[in-house]
């Protein structure tokens, strides 16, 4: 791509991103959402975050990788345990990361 094309793409992607982020905020009055749908959307945060996380922990090269050899899965599982036990974000990230790096280098 030429420099102009890249800048054009960046500007166009900015407009597209803004459109997706604001469409219902702008047209919410004209596209009324049923009460039930609005109610259901309170589960969106949990689902969006877990959908981002799961493939990172549970797959390797696009295939299920549920084994102790999967350093990300082991690190993630340890992080879950630490978070449930301590409620500390720093401890969760520190211990999870240490487990992941240890397994990757010595596993």
């Amino acid at each position: 791509m030429s420099s102009t094309e890249i800048w054009l793409s960046i500007v166009a992607m900015t407009i597209i991103t803004l459109a997706t982020r604001t469409v219902m905020l702008v047209f919410g009055d004209r596209i009324p959402l049923p009460e039930r749908v609005q109610h259901a959307l309170r589960f969106a945060p949990v689902c969006a975050l877990t959908a981002l996380i799961a493939p990172e922990l549970l797959t390797e090269q696009g295939a299920w990788a549920i084994s102790l050899a999967n350093a990300k899965l082991v690190g993630g599982a340890i992080a879950v345990a630490v978070m449930l036990a301590t409620r500390s974000m720093m401890a969760t990230m520190g211990i999870g990361m240490a487990a992941y790096l240890a397994l990757r280098h010595f596993g």
């Binding site: 791509m1 420099s3 094309e5 890249i6 800048w7 054009l8 793409s9 960046i10 500007v11 166009a12 992607m13 900015t14 597209i16 991103t17 803004l18 997706t20 982020r21 604001t22 469409v23 219902m24 905020l25 702008v26 009055d29 959402l33 749908v37 609005q38 259901a40 959307l41 309170r42 589960f43 969106a44 945060p45 949990v46 689902c47 969006a48 975050l49 877990t50 959908a51 981002l52 996380i53 799961a54 493939p55 990172e56 922990l57 549970l58 797959t59 299920w64 990300k72 690190g75 993630g76 992080a79 879950v80 978070m83 974000m89 969760t92 990230m93 999870g96 990361m97 992941y100 790096l101």
Partner: protein
Amino acid sequence: MIGRALFGRHPHTAQARRSAWLDGLRVVAPALIALAAWGLVTGVAMVKSGLTQWQALGMSMLMFAGSAQLAALPLIAADAPVWVVLLTAAVVNLRFVIFSAGLYPYFRDLPLGKRMALGYFTGDVSFALAVSRWSTQSPPQQGSSERTWFYAGICCGTWTVWQISSAAGIFLGGGIPGTWGLDFVAILALVALVLPMIAGPPAIAGALVASVVAVLAAATPLKLGLVIAVIAGISAAVAADILLERLRRQ
């Protein structure tokens, strides 16, 4: 001086706005580590895939959308047609449509410009933190100004940290080896972020189904799997919710 320009002249409302804004910053603070790691990774990826430093900086400042940026990069590097790049960005951002619908009930009374501004700053983290907090409170009739300023506080945190960490990635790019596993730090931060939100059987059902569907659909082009997983997860959560309600009534 700055405080007056930002929060308004009347001491009473200014006080309320400021404390709501600070509250938002406090709530988002722990999640900023995740964003910083992600911003760094995205910054490095942008310059390594052939964008100039200015293009990368422009992309980060304007789009402010990590996953769409990361999805577009290999296409730009591979000289794909512009419409393919745009379509990819649009599809990767489809989940934002769900987010904007989720935010609408809380911001419906604001003027159009403000609604659009708050929408522009919405990301996975800001949406998740705000709505998971508000949905446990009473209906959004009252205190909408406080909600707005609370959300503004969250977004100030996410935008600032994203831009600084992206810029660091862009300008230090070459010096950061890929083996540091920075992307995994961001994932662990998300784990810590989402766990407290998974409270009650409906949320557990939603999380489980969203996870399984996200993995099964991971190979779907354009990250469409993410959107399918979110919709499946929400459906499962609602089904569990209805089921529980029926059981309780019997």
